[in-house]
Amino acid sequence: MSAISREDVAHLAQLAHIEMSDAELDKMTGELGVIVESIASVSEAASADVPATTHPIALSNVFREDIVGPTLTAEEALMNAPDSVDTRFKVPAILDGE
């Protein structure tokens, strides 16, 4: 497995929507390198025939009756919103310049 580079971290930060300064990227690259190195052995632990476990206790899907249960009012849903208009969240512009 390849080492994690500064460019990798910058790209990951962008994917994760976290702005990072140059100093933060440097620090994070070093720390992640150590962590990734220490966990790399995991990829050699299991052979191809071992099934993956996604959930610790096996459960089968359960359907509930299609009945409306308790829901938040618009006022409750908006009470912590940084910005809202009437009964809606106000979202910053999706595209620049429009």
């Binding site: 992640l32 962590i35 071992v50 206790i57 912590n80 940084p82």
Partner: protein, 515 residues
């Protein structure tokens, strides 16, 4: 120290029912203790929010119902009026919930977690919200955005984490009961280093609805107390099926109080206790190993059959955990985007697009450890690495479950030290993420397999508490209470009292609080 706050929750509940103490007196005694030891310059700082008015109002309501007598008084929960502290990862109406993050500073939940609804229904006054590592990510509570909690045994040391606030509150007699959450050890490791009891129930045994999700396939809410019996009562209160949590087990809560009472006889005849070979030796402090060996001797003398079991794949558990957990973190924390709730930070220059607002918000709102885990998880899930990292880690999860299956074919319960070390000094590991991660080496396997675990006090090393962990098969939480209560009884007989009786006295003078 006021005698009311030294009572166990079970003892306090009995005195409330007998009318010897009122709930208002009990709540006030704990609020006074919080004022005395929590807030000063060198205060314990277990609480992020103290819920004075509501706690006293609920207490007064319980007192009025008891005083009136009749059917309403008869219908009260046995623990009605016993105060409780809540880890600030669990959402509560009427009190702020911050997850110890700037991202949720001042956030007020519009709904209660299911466990909070149960606590309200049983009328346990809530004393407030306790400190934690930000979004429960850490082993020392030093990653809280609102400052660390101090260990009541030594105010220069960590109380463990992420639930250091709940464990310290209980250890410092600021609350008889608390709730925690355990993703990789966040109930058990703080319990170990503060000399208290903590239980991670079987995955799905307690509803997670309203616990702010960190890693959904690993997270579990559980009790934090000073005695095994208190944990059993609290576990029975918060446990059970919840349609609002799709991973909740649709099964009755086991008879945990009964198991704890049975264990309190100290008799372990016929119980097979498996010592996990891989969870001792290198990396475990000598003092921890000594207390562990003494516990084994005490159990053997009480009739337990001590055998050694091997779990060879545990050596991969920490690595697999640090792939699965951050992967789930990166997904679960995507919702903190500054749009619908929580902090919004605008970029200082350039266009105000949603993408740039998110980037600025998450940069300012999250601390370093949260960012590290989000980036690590994003990496583990990214194209080209998914099979090698996340896929392999899920296979390791299967191997760990198989190790446990084989071990439980030979033993009724497994035993290990809860934490490889006693509480370390504040600041000593904050610059070394990997050293911090190693604190959970003994607790992580249980979360990976979904099985329950308990920590009980095992004595002192260098004057600091050592924890002993029992593990049981999924759905067999009762076995933990039987074995945990037995060891508690055996060791307390040897010590001539509770371990916390030997903790240094905290006062306004030592903490800078209000006398």
């Amino acid at each position: 120290m006021n005698q009311i706050i030294q009572l166990s929750a079970t003892e306090l509940a009995a005195k409330l029912r007998a009318g010897e103490i009122t709930s208002v007196q009990a709540v006030q005694a704990h609020l006074d203790r919080i004022a005395e030891v929590d807030g000063g310059d060198r205060g314990v700082h277990a609480f992020l929010h103290v819920n004075t008015d509501e706690a006293l109002a609920v207490a007064a309501e319980v007192d009025a119902i008891r005083a009136a007598g009749g059917a309403d008084a008869q219908a009260l929960h046995p623990f009605a009026g016993v105060p409780i502290a809540i880890k600030d990862l669990i959402v509560t109406k009427g009190q702020p919930t911050t997850a110890a993050s700037k991202m949720l500073e001042g956030w007020m939940s519009p709904y209660d977690a299911t466990v909070i609804e149960k606590i309200r229904a049983a009328k346990l006054p809530m004393l407030g919200k306790t400190n934690l590592d930000e979004f429960a990510m850490g082993s020392s509570t030093e990653h809280s955005a609102y400052g660390p909690t101090r260990n009541p045994w030594d105010l220069d040391r960590i109380p463990g984490g992420s639930g250091g606030g709940s464990a310290a509150a209980v250890a410092a007699f600021e609350a008889p009961l608390a709730l925690g959450t355990d993703t990789g050890g966040s109930i058990r490791q703080p319990g170990a280093v503060t000399g208290t009891v903590g239980v991670k129930p079987t995955y799905g045994g307690v509803s997670r609805y309203g616990a702010i999700a960190m890693a959904s396939s690993l997270d579990q809410i559980g009790p934090v107390t000073r005695t095994v019996l208190d944990s059993a009562y609290l576990h029975e209160l918060i446990g059970g099926h919840d349609p609002a949590d799709s991973t909740s087990l649709n099964e009755p809560v086991p008879a945990l109080v009964e198991a704890a009472e049975q264990g309190a006889s100290g008799d372990m005849t016929g119980v097979r206790v498996g010592v996990i070979k891989e969870l001792q030796g290198e990396g475990y402090e000598a003092g921890v190993q000594e207390r562990f060996n003494e516990s084994l001797e005490a159990l053997r003398a009480a009739g337990a059959e001590i055998i050694e079991v091997s779990c060879p794949n545990f050596k991969y558990a920490l690595g697999a955990y640090y792939l699965i957990m951050p992967s789930e973190v990166s997904s679960n924390l995507a919702k903190f985007d500054g749009v619908r709730f929580g902090t919004r930070v605008l970029p200082t220059q350039g266009p105000l697009t949603i993408e740039r607002v998110m980037g600025a918000t998450r940069a300012a709102g999250f601390g370093d450890e949260v960012k590290r885990r989000i980036i690590l998880g994003t990496y583990a899930l990214s194209a080209g690495y998914y099979d090698a990292y996340y896929g392999s880690a899920q296979k390791v999860r299967t191997l760990i479950q198989r190790d446990f299956d084989a071990a439980f074919a030979q033993a009724d319960v497994l035993i290990s030290p809860t934490s490889p070390t006693v509480a370390f000094e504040l600041g000593s590991k904050t610059d070394d993420p990997l050293a911090m991660y190693l604190n959970d080496v003994a607790t992580i396997p249980a979360n990976m397999a979904g099985i329950p675990g308990i920590t009980v006090p095992g004595g002192l090393s260098q004057g600091l508490p050592v924890g002993i962990q029992f593990l049981a098969p999924a759905r067999e939480d009762a076995r933990l209470y039987r074995a945990g209560a037995a060891l508690e009884k055996l060791l307390e007989d040897k010590w001539g009292g509770r371990l916390l009786d030997s903790a240094p006295e905290l006062s306004a003078a030592t903490t800078g609080g209000v006398a």
